[in-house]
């Protein structure tokens, strides 16, 4: 049994006046635990739709997604988004009025967890992403690469088992992008977290252990 099993995954959008668009048309793949996988495809291939579904943001799909044999629909959606997956976005999506520390701790605001455990985890992650000297800085005081590091640390704060990264290097120059990929690789190695990286760039995909290619809503 694979760690993540995606079976006949379909997502159809109703566009009004009876028009339907099939963003995903029967996607199937397996991912083993701790793998670093990339999903590659051109614009409109269904990459973002797949990521939204795996990230627990879109539940209007058909087919099955199993994690360790358990259908993700059996999870409470909020629990799933907190502890099963952590998402890193291309646009970073940091809260402008919150500091680096506060942005990383943002998911904790919606939980009852508190205390030493969290502060140790925060220190560890800030150290890992190399932002010790930027803890109190606001997002506007950070470079793109630093902002993405904050987003990665935020995704990791709850120690999720899977990290979904949506074009994490898309807004960065190649050097900074490479540094981010190395950071993700380090996370994958050290934290044993399974990473699913979505990209349109085949060069970036080469960085990962396995590549899933999507074309017109199907994996080929």
């Amino acid at each position: 049994m694979a760690y993540i099993e995606v079976r006949n995954l379909k997502r159809v959008y109703e566009m009004g006046k009876g028009l339907q668009v099939g963003a995903l048309q029967g996607v199937n793949f397996n991912i083993e635990e701790g793998n670093f996988i990339s999903v590659v495809g051109t614009s409109g291939s269904g990459k973002s739709t797949l990521l939204n579904i795996l990230g627990g943001l879109d539940w209007g799909y058909t087919g099955d997604i199993l994690i360790e044999g358990k259908d993700i629909k059996e999870y409470d959606p909020n629990y799933y988004r907190r502890y099963i997956v952590g998402t890193v976005f291309q646009q970073f999506y940091l809260i402008p009025s919150l500091s680096v520390e506060e942005n990383i701790l943002l998911p904790i605001k919606f939980q009852k967890r508190k205390g030493k455990e969290i502060s140790e985890r925060l220190d560890y992650l800030i150290d890992m992403v190399g932002l010790n000297d930027r803890r109190k800085h606001l997002p506007k005081e950070l470079s793109g690469g630093q902002a993405q590091r904050v987003a990665i640390a935020r995704a990791m704060i709850d120690s999720p088992r899977i990290i979904l990264a949506d074009e994490p290097t898309g807004n960065l120059d190649s050097k900074t992008g490479m540094a981010i990929l190395k950071l993700l690789e380090e996370l994958n190695r050290v934290e044993k977290v399974t990473i699913l990286l979505v990209t349109h760039d085949k060069e970036i995909a080469k960085f990962t252990e396995e590549v899933i290619t999507l074309v017109d809503g199907k994996n080929v």
């Binding site: 990230g55 943001l57 988004r81 976005f89 919606f110 935020r154 995704a155």
Partner: protein, 429 residues
């Protein structure tokens, strides 16, 4: 919850100017409501307390003319009232009223106008040129307080009010035994409708008591007043004066349970103008109720406008924070948590308006209170040392109400925010 509160506070503080402007509506509503709670209640009780001390339910005030309004007509004018002829309150009428079943006593009231009143050793006359006359004792409840040597006015005795004591910058004790010189003056001629002629004359009185009255500054007894009126008016006798001019008012004391019946008889059968204590108290009640209602109405309208303002601001916030809502949902915030965050924001706007309104009201009260107390004292309400009473309990109720208004106004926008689709929210530009 504390974490969510801090986050909501952060969101509100990000929009300081808008928060302040939105909370202005709540602030105005709170100010109006505060004035009702901290001022109107006391005004009503002060007025009623003052009037119930002076006027008893079984008392009637009878006049031959429609001149007994209190700052305006007590009752709405009627055509019937208009055709009511003015009558002279003669001794015959007085005796007739005395003979009505249930009447305990009838005390005539007179006014002598146009006298300049000087205190012994002082050159400046008292501003009022009116001397009232009645045979009621100084301890009668019409005078709220009495301080003096004699309770009953004899010839050439005079009671003065606390106003007079205050005007002549003396004390209740010091003024007793002093002389009051009353001089008729030519200017008084225009004030006195009861004089046929006016020749400069002087009358001397001795102060025997200090009374606390709402209106009149000097009181002498009826016989003395009649002698002066006869003297000033050129009448041959008190009887002639009463036959021609009549008493100013008759103060009628009745037995309990008979007052209404007697009031109706005097009004309808005798054709006189009559006011009962009940009418006066009812008038005060109506007046204060009207004022309270107006303030409540304006307060409610302000609260409604403020609510619309909060709804508008919160909906604007949703548009501004759409992406942020998407982010927090994507990292695990539930719909309920988003709802709570927005409700906390609107409650904070309400609370801010409440605190702002209460603070400003508190300051206004502090500044205005001495002026209101002084004004009331000038109108005879001498017992009121503080008009506005800022009560912490009521302030708390107002603050909680403003939070409630904020929450109610925030329900729709909060639900709207909670229902946002995270995928669409993240794509929102």
């Amino acid at each position: 919850m504390v974490k969510m509160f801090k986050y909501a506070l952060n969101l509100v503080l990000r929009r300081k100017l808008r928060t302040v402007l939105t909370s202005l509506g709540i602030m105005i509503a709170v100010m109006l409501m505060s004035f009702i709670l901290f001022g109107m209640t006391d005004l009503k009780s002060a007025l009623l307390s003052e009037l119930t001390t002076r006027f008893k339910p079984q008392e009637l005030y009878v006049s031959g003319q429609d001149s007994m309004s209190f700052g305006g007509m007590v009752n709405a004018p009627t055509k019937e009232g208009k055709v009511k002829e003015e009558r002279i309150l003669t001794n015959e009428l007085r005796e007739e009223i005395e003979g009505i079943d249930g009447v305990i006593s009838v005390e005539p009231l007179l006014f002598v106008n146009g006298l300049e009143l000087f205190l012994e050793g002082d050159d400046i006359p008292y501003p009022s040129k009116v001397v009232a006359a009645s045979d009621l004792p100084g301890t009668h409840h019409m005078y709220k307080e009495f301080y003096g040597k004699k309770e009953i006015l004899e010839s050439n005795d005079i009671f003065v009010s606390k106003f007079v004591v205050s005007f002549f910058e003396t004390t209740d004790e010091d003024i007793l035994g002093k002389k009051i010189l009353a001089k008729s003056s030519s200017s008084g001629m225009f004030l006195s409708s009861s004089s046929k002629s006016m020749i400069d004359k002087e009358y001397e009185f001795t102060v025997v008591g200090v009374v606390d009255t709402a209106n009149d500054a000097f009181w002498i007894n009826n016989d003395t007043a009649l002698d002066i009126l006869v003297d000033l008016g050129g009448y041959s006798s008190p009887e002639e004066y009463i036959s021609n001019i009549g008493y100013f008012q008759l103060y009628v004391d009745t037995k309990d349970g008979k007052t209404k019946e007697i009031e109706r008889y005097i009004d309808e059968d005798l054709g006189l103008f009559v006011i009962s204590s009940e009418t006066i108290l009812g008038f005060v009640d109506t007046l204060t109720a009207g004022l309270t209602l107006s303030l409540i109405l304006f307060g409610s309208i302000s609260a409604l406008v403020a609510s619309i303002g909060i709804i508008n601001t919160m909906i604007m916030s949703i548009y501004e924070q759409t992406k942020e809502i998407g982010i927090i949902k994507a990292i695990g915030a539930s719909n309920l948590q988003v709802l709570i965050i927005f409700l906390i924001q609107s409650a904070l706007i309400g609370l801010f308006g409440g605190i702002l309104g209460l603070s400003i009201t508190f300051l206004i009260m502090k500044v205005l209170d001495p002026f209101v107390v002084e004004t009331l004292a000038q109108q005879g309400f001498l017992d009121i040392s503080q008009f506005f009473h800022f009560q912490l309990g009521n302030a708390l109720i107002i603050a909680l109400s403003s939070i409630l208004v904020g929450i109610l106004a925030g329900i729709y926008p909060s639900m709207k925010a909670a229902k946002l689709d995270p995928v669409k929210a993240l794509r929102y530009e």
